[in-house]
Amino acid sequence: MAKEGIGAAVRRREDSRFLTGQGHYVDDFNRPGQLYAYIRRSDRPHARIRGIDVSAARNAPGVVAVYTGEDLAADGVGGLPCGWQIHNKDGSPMAEPPHPVLALGKVRHIGDPIAVVIAESKAQAKDAAELIAIDFEDLPAVADVRAATAPGAPRVHDDVPGNVCYDWHIGDLAAVEAAFARAKHVVRLDLVNNRLIPNAMEPRAALAECDVTGNYTLYTTSQNPHVIRLLMGAFVLHLPEHRLRVVAPDVGGGFGSKIYHYAEEAIVTWAAGKLRRPVKWTAERSESFISDAQGRDHVSHAELALDEEGNFLALRVSTLANLGAYLSTFAPSVPTYLYATLLAGVYKTPAIYAEVKAVFTNTVPVDAYRGAGRPEAAYLLERLVDVAAMETGIDRIALRRKNFIPPEAFPYQTPVALQYDSGNYEMTLREALKAADYEGFEARRAEARRRGKLRGIGISTYLEACGIAPSKVVGQLGARAGLYEVATIRVHPTGSVTVYTGAHSHGQGHETTFAQIVADHLGVPYEQVEIVHGDTAQVPFGMGTYGSRSLAVGGSAMVKAMDKIIAKGKKIAAYLLEASAEDIEFADGVFRVAGTDKTKTLGEIAFAAYVPHNYPIEELEPGLEETAFYDPKNFTFPGGCHVCEVEIDPETGVTRVVNFVAVDDVGRVINPLIVEGQVQGGVAQGIGQALLEHAVYDANGQLLSGSFMDYTMPRADNLPSITVGTESTMCTHNPLGAKGCGEVGAIGSPPAVINAIVDALKEFGVKHVDMPATPEKIWSIIEAHRPRLAAE
């Protein structure tokens, strides 16, 4: 049993279907009589729609219907809702402009959907969409947050002055100002967190059908089908939940971009109802670039106050966050409670103040992307600490160690709302430095120098908060939903088990790891456990998968449900074994009267529960199935140390990551193989952000990196082997001790890479390099300093 229990490197059971082409992704589904939707999108960043003529498109071959925003509005279709409300410094609520499913009167970004053509074939729908004549009046547009907040900037929404969605803050400003006044050193840094495009390999897709009785089914590429059902049913289409089934089958990666309720889901569902035929929409990659929520895009100024010895006294941060043209589902939470609350990091900085202005621009909406707010916080902090080391002359490792929250300080209350439960930052730092042979680095630098290369090493000691979070707390912070998770455990009459989980797997391997947990906890063979997810008709409810929460929250719900199973099983066993329930012990799948050899297996108990011939029917209901809603008691706080080593070719400016070590504290590890894979994948995205990826808009909102021809995705030859270690302390407040591992890679790595680059360039006196550190950027820095070097 133990070989497939908690901690075992079990090979994934889902691989059998993925490796043989038997996976079932949304676009693989086809329904009889299916129609195809193609969406005509804006090619203007900002324009008034004076008129739309769809007559030619309606008459094109194969076309069944053409709809515009007016058609949806006339039918009472609502706008896309926002799930999180932030309040301004003065207590007033954020600006929340309408987000129509299809544009009404105006388009506000490249890709804004305007009309949908539904036809017998995909090609016919696309052919006809070109025939829609749209009379645009171009309006001035703005893409950059600084430009958008400048006086006289074009307004994205007429009733949002200054384009400011909210002006929010956290922390004790007076305490921070007092600390800065007495500081010995103040270090300052301006930095940009570059906008990214998530680019899960499976483009989004949605297929809806409506049967003769008016029951709807939507197959969609979602990380959280129940949330889509709730948002779309209640706010957009006004369909009751019992008539709307949402299925998120195999989903080809999400990274956050498939959390949100998107217009296309509502469009195909509504149209399927109108036409009473199935309607399918599948994004082309070019559409993904202009319709999937994008990530990051912060411009920040940060200041750190230190005393003579290098103790951090206070941190002051001011950030402009780009939200794009509309509020995506969870967008407001990202630059606030998922960002500024993390600014303490692993350090005991006593006073912190952050203010965040979130800004509308004529760009694709921005929302959570792997890490969501926490990469931005970690990047800012870990860059700032390196700059502090450089400017105070204190060694960067020593400076970190001096300011670490020590292991004995937990639980530790930060000045920015969070209370950390556990951690050991020295342990992950020490192990990472050892694995990266930090001691031996100078010899490698010298050797590289002989080859004409500039070698540098950088570290980050980062922290994240995930497993979001107590419903009561997030409610106070503005969430319009509870953030618990749900699980049903059904023990079948012969003892096999089906688990219905509200978490969704789109690469994380839940079918394997969740089965390991259940096998371990109930003592049943791993093969006897089946995991069901992603279908609102099967799973009672769920909040889905994001923010590294599936194990910490979803896994805990499973444990809670299993504990109910065990409690009931003990009562049944007590009856069968003629003992008192208090005397029944449960271990390894067996109920035993304590201190005796009187036992019943879980299978025997289950059989008795379903065939209750000899059963306490007056006291207990038959059957062995339990559902639990688990509400987390706190966030979880994974963290660790990433060490990156780079080599720069000074002639071209090309940076190569030559070594990368990540040692993370993710709490309890269920399957080390999967944890390593999650970290490696996250690190790859972090290296991508640091060196390659950038969603570039011109000043007017045209996306210049709108395909894989111009948006640089990390490829195998851009990346090194990634050494992963785990050094865990247990989460103290959930039954698994799990913290989460999905995002750590993407959070810890970008600052490690940039710190390494700055280290490699240290002879040039470089303080900072903005991401992505492209070859030309590096070459320009070297060129700019060459004359000075030559003169010295």
Partner: protein, 265 residues
């Protein structure tokens, strides 16, 4: 893509006939550029004429020329022992085009007829002074490339083979890849052969592939990286985009040229 009629003629004459009769018809070679263009609906041909059945693939070597059939895929050129022996830089260049899947389909004739300013082959063809043979004539490389996506080909004219004069004493290609598309951001082919010393640059010029006479003169005098280290191509007329400014491309031309010379030995 828009719909079109598809033909797969069995003779060169038939292919030429269809293409000549209809200015909206387009030849289809490996399709690795044309099909993506059609998918983006940037082009609306009435007919596609597939050249796959015309027997235009193959590699031949004589004492005076290496001849590559127009429909020879890049992978075949990259793996050919004869090409590696006769013009190692050419085989090396072919191994850098696109990716392995693209190299299995993309052809030398298609690449040259398209004359994408970031394609690799034009650099080799120009630097080696090759001759482009068509259904009706022979065109010297110097006359063939006429600016971005423009060539000396007449409507309906089909490339049949490309002849590289031998013996080639030195040849090498260095490519700085545009990081996303992997096309040449700057590609430099250096050669010393029957046509003298030549240096051709692709990816960088607003008008496509071009030669660098100053580098050619310097290398003719002394074949070494140092002899061209101080020669800069002016940024005027070079491409500037989100991946690199004209000034950066100008710098990279010198770096890639030096490295190519070193590689050629």
């Amino acid at each position: 893509m828009y719909n079109f009629a598809y033909h797969k003629p069995a003779s060169l004459a038939d292919a030429v006939k269809i293409l000549s009769a209809d200015p909206e018809a387009r030849p289809l070679a490996g399709g690795q550029t044309l099909i993506p263009v059609l998918k983006q609906r940037l082009n609306k041909p009435s007919q596609l004429v597939d050249l796959a059945a015309l027997g235009l693939a193959g590699i031949k070597v004589s004492p005076t020329a290496l001849t590559i059939g127009a429909m020879t895929p890049h992978a075949a050129v990259a793996r050919s022992a004869e090409v590696r022996k006769a013009i190692p830089g050419l085989a090396d260049l072919a191994s850098w085009i696109g990716d392995e899947q693209v190299r299995h389909r993309g052809t030398i004739g298609g690449s040259l007829a398209n004359n994408d300013p970031s394609a690799c082959y034009p650099a080799a063809v120009l630097a080696l002074g090759a001759t482009i043979k068509t259904d009706r004539r022979e065109i010297a490389a110097d006359d063939f490339f006429q600016g971005m996506f423009t060539t000396a080909l007449e409507p309906g004219e089909i490339i049949t083979e490309v002849a590289f004069p031998l013996p080639v004493e030195k040849s090498a290609y260095e490519k700085f890849r545009q990081p996303a598309s992997r096309y040449a951001m700057v590609g430099v082919f250096v050669a010393k052969g029957p046509k003298g010393v030549r240096v051709a640059v692709t990816g960088a010029g607003q008008n496509g592939v071009f030669r660098v006479p100053e580098m050619e003169d310097a290398l003719a005098k002394s074949w070494s990286p140092d002899s061209i280290a101080a020669i800069k191509v002016s940024p005027d007329g070079l491409v500037s985009d989100i991946h690199g400014s004209a000034a950066y491309r100008s710098h990279l031309i010198t770096v890639m040229a030096k490295r190519a010379v070193a590689k050629a030995g």
